[in-house]
């Protein structure tokens, strides 16, 4: 059962996302998709001279889980250095969502934003 999957917080974020939009100029911009479901996410990041995230925006199209995850992860990494971002993993994204019963297929939705961010970050490391 979906249980707590569609709880208030996730639905709220689906309706009113955080950090939604684009950044121009940016230090890097990266887009990834989930070829199984067609979800697409682009993340734009602005870094300071110490490689610390000063601003971050995301845009894209996907299900409530991937969209809520994008809001939460972009909020979570503000002020982090790139090295700190690279140390994050999929479980961190799932933990931020606060859901415990994601099926294998839905884990991919939840982790798409963090994967996108890390893939982008690895291009400037």
């Amino acid at each position: 059962m979906s249980g707590n999957l569609y709880r208030e917080m996730i639905l709220d974020l689906y309706e009113n996302p955080l950090n939604h939009g684009e950044l121009d100029p940016n230090t890097f911009s990266h887009e990834e998709d989930n070829p199984l479901c067609g979800d697409v996410i682009k993340i734009d990041v602005l870094l300071d001279e110490n490689k610390k995230i000063t601003d971050i925006k995301w845009s894209g199209d996907g299900c409530a889980i991937s969209m809520a995850s994008a809001s939460l992860i972009t909020d979570h990494v503000k002020g982090m250095t790139i090295d700190e971002v690279m140390a994050l993993d999929g479980q961190d994204a799932v933990d931020l969502l606060g859901v415990s019963n994601l099926s294998m297929g839905r884990v991919k939705c939840a982790t798409l934003p963090i994967k996108t961010l890390k893939a982008g970050a690895s291009t400037i490391q």
Binding site: M1, S2, L5, Y6, L11, Y14, E15, P35, L36, C37, G38, D39, V40, D61, G62, C63, A64, I65, M67, R106, C109
Partner: protein, 409 residues
């Protein structure tokens, strides 16, 4: 008329306890159909009673296995009305059929300047093999667009079919739009410019009477697992004149006549294209699936699906914000309805329906280009088969309305 209550008794999976309170409502037959007990038992019987390799043994078991496997080929031949059983090449699925066609026929016949024509409503299985072989041979791949109503753009087709076209490969029924294409007319148009015509029958063979001689197509591929049969087997029909002229695709045992360490000569049809030990139990299971569908009668199967689809189109249109992809009347479409729901992503729809025991597909259904053309990333799809009831469609509608409530729409 199908006796639905009786039909439902044939499918064990429908009576398994999948969810705590609700019975399974399986609306994903277009992805893979459920299997009747007759098919499951035919496969078990082979493993239990006469398991042996085919085409090799002198012993009794091997003879029994060979007879059952070859009998399945004859059943398939009759099912699609192919002139000869040797024109039915057994492969893994429709996808492998198209790969065989693209690599063997395409590799030997395509050259720079030639064109292969497909349509914008194809499954990836009838897109990617042609992309690969065009890249290798220097031929050009073109596609026929579809209209806003989800029908093939016939004016564009007339422009695109030229003397340069060597192959026109298209689906009989779209797995997303549900569109039933005028196969016979399309084949005739291809032949008129000297091109061959290949048909993707994956969504047609399970649901209606298919007659390859009436269509006059040169090739037609389909999968067992969408027609009550097991996974791991399917077929490509080809006219013998083409199959005989084509080089083998995969090499190995069974497909040879004589082998030296330097060179081999090849077996006759259909074995020339069937290297290695085949999927024997699956072939026998597919034969049982053909028997099962024949018993129901393909005209009855088709009539039932038309009735259910017609009912579903009307019932689903009551759901606020629901957009049905493809033709809007059942007469123009097969037994599936792909849709979007405003404010709800297809993934979330499928997840919430699953809570009510309803299985639908969500995603791009192996048809990414089609979704891009329609300006959507994905869709949800409900597909129907011989065991689907109007009560199940009602449950789908109730569940869709519940999903909207969960999303505060």
């Amino acid at each position: 008329m199908l006796n639905i209550e009786k039909v439902r008794q044939d499918f064990p999976v429908l009576h398994e306890p999948h969810h705590e309170a609700t019975p399974l409502i399986y609306l994903d037959s277009a992805a893979s159909s459920q299997k009747p007990i007759q098919v499951i038992e035919a496969m078990n019987d082979y493993y239990r009673s006469y398991n042996a390799n085919v085409h090799r043994g002198i012993h009794k078991l091997s003879e029994a296995a060979t007879a059952a496997y070859e009998d399945a080929r004859v059943k398939l031949q009759k099912f699609i009305n192919a002139p000869a059983a040797e024109e039915v090449i057994l492969v893994r699925n429709a996808t492998e059929g198209f790969n065989l066609l693209a690599y063997s026929w395409g590799g030997a016949n395509l050259k720079p300047g030639d064109e292969v024509l497909i349509t914008a409503m194809e499954h990836h299985a009838n897109i990617v093999p042609w992309q690969l072989v065009c890249e290798q041979t220097g031929a050009t791949l073109k596609h026929v667009p579809f209209t806003d109503e989800g029908m093939l753009d016939m004016e564009a087709l007339n422009e695109l079919l030229t003397e340069k076209t060597k192959m026109f490969s298209f689906t009989a029924i779209s797995n997303v739009l549900g569109t039933i294409n005028p196969v016979k007319e399309l084949v005739a148009k291809a032949h008129a410019v000297g091109a061959l015509a290949a048909v993707d029958g994956a969504q047609a063979v399970p649901h209606a009477t298919v007659d390859v001689q009436d269509w006059n197509c040169d090739f037609m591929a389909f999968s067992s697992h969408k027609m009550c049969g097991p996974t791991g087997i399917g077929a490509i029909y080809g006219k013998a004149e083409h199959l005989n002229a084509m080089p083998p695709w995969m090499g190995g045992g069974d497909m040879i006549r004589r082998v030296t360490l330097e060179k081999s000569t090849y077996n006759d049809l259909p074995y020339k294209f069937e290297a290695g030990t085949p999927a024997i139990a699956e072939g026998i299971g597919l034969g049982a699936a053909v028997d099962y569908l024949n018993e129901l009668g393909m005209d009855n199967v088709h009539a039932h699906e038309q009735a259910i689809t017609s009912y579903a189109l009307e019932a689903m249109s009551e759901v606020e914000g629901l957009r049905i992809l493809g033709p809007q009347t059942a007469a123009e479409r097969g037994g599936l309805v792909a849709f979007t729901l405003k404010g709800l992503h297809p993934h979330d729809i499928a997840q919430l329906l699953d809570d009510d025991g309803i299985a639908v597909r969500a995603g791009h259904h192996c048809a990414m280009p089609m979704h891009k053309i329609m300006g959507i990333g994905a869709s949800a799809r409900a597909s129907f088969y011989v065991h689907t009831t109007t009560e199940e469609v009602d449950a789908l509608v109730t569940s869709l309305n519940r999903a909207r409530e969960v999303f505060r729409l």
